[in-house]
């Protein structure tokens, strides 16, 4: 029953968004069924569609988890974008600087660099909040700008190969490459960049679940998120929890760099993120701040992203911007859940009200 309740509202939001999008497509002058057919058909085609959908889902799972962990501690991390950039650059730096090392050493070092880089960038607003009470939303937004500007500078003036017109660093060492799943799954071509980072993302979902609901640290973090005064009363240091949550959140966002740098481009590419950090907020929201929900909603957003291209190509009027309309509408509907709940809530409230 409670699972049903958890699922029903996100589901309504998605269906309603597709309905609204359908009307829009109709008004523009195309057949909504044809457009949606193209969208899902391409996203689910084997092997290319599915391969790319899962590849697109990977960064969204990481950022969705990042937002989730902060949210469970009562914090809104708008800074996953900056954290993932720092993580990606950190892992690229290690891959470039220690290019000659054996993979057995280099890959773990690169992983740690991504985690530490993102974690550190997330810890800054955590410490600021715990120490001075400054609001994490403001600080994470500011740190996004700082991260982007800082990394552009390093890419342009220190890590670009001379004469390269593209804003990207020199390649990382071969030993830092992680395997593409095409190498293991028959029928999946290796040109599809879906890589081991996807498996890592799924593992992280499991770890986040265990951490939050099965360990004493997760208990303290969630207790702080639901009622800091009561947490304090129970002997939990609220300040410490804020720093811990923001650090873990940043570390998860930083792991996007593993997918991007070690599994896909094999270098740091300036401005690579397609707003993964911000979409992560929507992913967590739609996924009800639960790891399983995050997987499902990350997949949905990846389907939209992948399916937008053929919709653009094979319909007369509709462009791939329809994807953004759908994403936006989903978020609106999820955010307007209170409105949906209205009639239900009223009933529930009456039942519970003091007699």
């Amino acid at each position: 029953m409670s699972l049903f309740r958890e699922l029903i509202f996100p589901l309504i939001a998605v269906v309603a968004a597709f309905f609204v999008g359908g009307i829009l497509i109709l008004v523009i002058g195309d057949n909504p069924l044809q457009a949606y057919g193209l969208l899902f058909g391409s996203a689910f085609s084997w092997p290319v569609g599915i391969g790319y959908t899962l590849f697109y889902a990977t960064p969204l799972i990481f950022t969705g988890l990042a937002v989730l962990v902060a949210f469970r501690c009562g914090l809104l991390n708008i800074g996953a974008e900056g954290q993932l950039y720092i993580g990606a650059f950190a892992t690229a730096w290690v891959g470039i600087t220690f290019a000659g090392l054996s993979p057995w050493l280099l890959i773990p070092m690169c992983f740690i660099a991504a985690i530490l880089g993102g974690g550190m960038w997330g810890a800054i607003p955590g410490v600021l909040k715990a120490r001075f009470g400054s609001h994490e939303v403001i600080n994470t937004i500011m740190l996004n700008f700082i991260a982007v500007a800082l990394l552009s500078y390093f890419t342009q003036y220190h890590y670009k190969s001379p004469g390269d017109p593209i804003m990207q660093t020199v390649p990382i060492g071969e030993g830092a490459h992680i395997a593409r799943l095409g190498g293991f799954i028959p029928g999946l071509p290796e040109f599809i960049p879906l890589n081991l980072a996807f498996v890592l993302a799924l593992i992280c979902c499991g770890l986040v679940y265990i951490f939050l609901w099965r360990t004493k640290w997760g208990y303290e973090l969630r207790a702080t998120g639901t009622n800091p005064s009561a947490a304090e009363y129970g002997g939990i240091s609220v300040r410490k929890q804020i720093i811990v949550a923001m650090t873990i959140s940043g570390a998860l966002a930083g792991m996007v760099g593993i997918n991007e740098v070690l599994g896909y481009r094999y270098r740091y590419y300036d401005g690579f993120s397609d707003n993964y950090g911000f979409t992560g907020i929507a992913v967590a929201l739609l996924g009800r701040n639960h790891p399983v929900g995050v997987i499902i909603s990350a997949l949905l957003f990846a389907i939209l992203q992948r399916g937008g291209i053929p919709v653009d190509a094979f319909t007369e009027h509709v462009t791939k911007d329809i994807v953004q309309v759908l994403q936006g509408t989903i978020i609106l509907f999820v955010a307007a859940e209170a409105f949906f709940r209205g009639p239900f809530a009223k009933f529930g409230l009456l039942k519970r009200s003091k007699v």
């Binding site: 004493k216 303290e220 009363y233 039942k351 003091k354």
Partner: protein
């Protein structure tokens, strides 16, 4: 004046009112008593048009009226003052009173006319308030008068008051009662919903007792007593007086020396307080709320920053003034906070998770590498607390939010007793709790004291604090202004210390 005839009301599967018959005679003060959930508020909300009855009819002055909204109720002369005031904090008294019944025609407000009317009413009923004062600057007692004026301004002849004394200090209650008596003299009818028996006996003419949605007694106040009312409310014999043997006290468990607390605003809320609590005794602190009790208890529980404290807090021989809440808990200090929603519970968490707050990081809750929670152990602990303290419904998977106030309180008390404390800090242990549960909680507290625990009790209920305590301190404006022997001191004597400070 007002008659409810065979009123039945269901909320889903819950039968809130089952063929309720209530007759309120004109010009009387009529008390409706019952435990939380007995259906008294529901019945009165039906009379006021908040809910619609599934069956039955409402008669006003002998005629059947269809009261579907509060508007209909006001039209026939029924007014209601809710437990939580419905006032706009930033508006003046006069503006609040006329809100929704604005004088004058069209868009122009005739405040002069309203002013005259408000002054006339406050004169007639001796409800002294300045019509131009802003609500947020008024005391709770004054705000209540505004609510009464609001109803009178709308020509209410019958006033329904839902738990009106819950928010008042003992002195304000006396004042409030004289207002009610004046209203009765002026021909108004008053219905007062309450679960405090002393108040019923002090103010009412007639009593209707409700239990489990049914009327179980209609009595003349003069012909009844507290024991009979309690028995009707709970459905069995209730001990109103706490039974306890003389305290067998040991050494001092807690000693507080020259403790002062500085608020964030810079003011001192606790001033140079010194006292000891010995093993095996209950030390009570009585005082009007807001005289530093809250800050004192938070300081002792380790919930304030050390920079706010001066003086010394010792447990046995250890100075804990600068220690945090976790270490204090490890030293055997348990704490039942005054605000169970803000401090005591994680309302979104289930009962099992709530039952481990404070010990959640220790053996036996944490097994496996000192990291992972042992769900079996958590459940066992939760079930032991639920059974030992009769928490209902007895389901560890329910969120704490789903419980009634009394059951939430029993859960907190059970959790804090479970750690076998050496020192128990307890604030307002029975606030908003039913009579049956109050008796239970009192017995548990005395039992804990008999087992050698030191108990420091703060309560706004004078009767509670005098009957439970072995020694009683009086606090006024953050200072301890006196110690009395609760066995011989009179309520009047204590009340005087509480308000005047000497």
């Amino acid at each position: 004046m007002l008659e409810l005839r065979n009123i039945t009301k269901r909320f889903g599967a819950v039968l809130a009112n089952d063929k309720v018959n209530i007759v309120v005679k004109p010009g009387t003060i009529h008390a409706i008593v019952g435990e939380n959930g007995a259906g008294k508020s529901t019945a009165m909300r039906i009379a006021y048009g908040f809910y619609k009855a599934d069956e039955g009819e409402i008669l006003v002055d002998g005629k059947v009226h269809d009261i579907g909204t509060p508007h209909d109720a006001i039209a026939v002369g029924i007014g209601m003052v809710h437990q939580h005031f419905m006032l706009v904090d930033t508006m003046t008294v006069a503006e609040n009173i006329v809100l929704g019944a604005e004088p004058g025609s069209g868009i122009a407000l005739d405040f002069a006319k309203a002013d005259v009317e408000i002054r006339r009413l406050s004169e007639e009923f001796k409800l002294a308030v300045n019509p131009h004062a802003v609500i947020e600057h008024l005391s709770v007692g004054q705000q209540q008068r505004v609510e009464l004026l609001k109803a009178l301004y709308r020509h209410a002849r019958l006033l329904i008051l839902d738990e009106p004394t819950a928010v008042l200090t003992p002195q304000e209650v006396e004042e409030f009662f004289s207002i009610l008596r004046r209203m009765r003299e002026q021909g108004k009818t008053v219905v007062i919903i309450t679960h405090k028996l002393t108040e019923v006996l002090a103010i009412s003419d007639e009593v209707t007792v409700m239990r489990d949605g049914r009327v179980v007694g209609r009595l003349q106040t003069k012909a009844t007593n507290a024991a009979e009312l309690a028995r009707l409310m709970v459905g069995r014999e209730v001990l109103l007086r706490v039974e306890k043997t003389p305290a067998k006290t040991g050494n001092a468990e807690l000693s507080v020396r020259n403790l002062s607390v500085t608020d964030r605003g810079g003011a001192n809320s606790v001033k140079d307080v010194s006292f000891e609590v010995r093993k095996g005794e209950i030390l009570g602190i009585a005082g009007v709320e807001g005289n530093g009790q809250t800050e004192l208890m938070e300081a002792l529980a380790g919930l304030l920053s050390p920079s706010q404290l001066s003086g010394e807090i010792r447990v046995e021989d250890r100075d804990i003034t600068r220690e945090g809440a976790r270490l204090r808990r490890e030293l055997g200090i348990a704490h039942i906070p005054e605000d169970r929603h803000r401090r005591g519970l994680l309302l979104e968490f289930d009962l099992a998770e709530n039952s481990i707050l404070g010990v959640h990081y220790r053996h036996p809750i944490v097994a496996y590498a000192g990291t992972f929670l042992d769900n079996g152990a958590i459940r066992r602990r939760a079930v032991e607390i639920i059974e030992g303290f009769d928490v209902r419904p007895a389901n560890p998977d329910l969120p704490a939010r789903a419980l009634s106030g009394g059951n939430q309180q029993k859960l907190i008390i059970g959790r804090e007793f479970k750690v076998d404390p050496k020192l128990l800090l307890v604030s307002q242990p029975t606030r908003g709790v039913d009579i049956g549960a109050i008796e239970f909680i009192h017995r548990k507290l005395v039992g804990l004291r008999d087992s050698g625990c030191a108990v420091l009790l703060v309560s706004a209920e004078l009767e509670e604090v005098t009957s439970l305590s072995d020694r009683l301190l009086i606090i006024h404006e953050g200072r301890i202004v006196g110690e009395v022997d609760p066995r011989v001191a009179t309520i009047a004597e204590i009340g005087l210390l509480m308000t005047r400070g000497h």
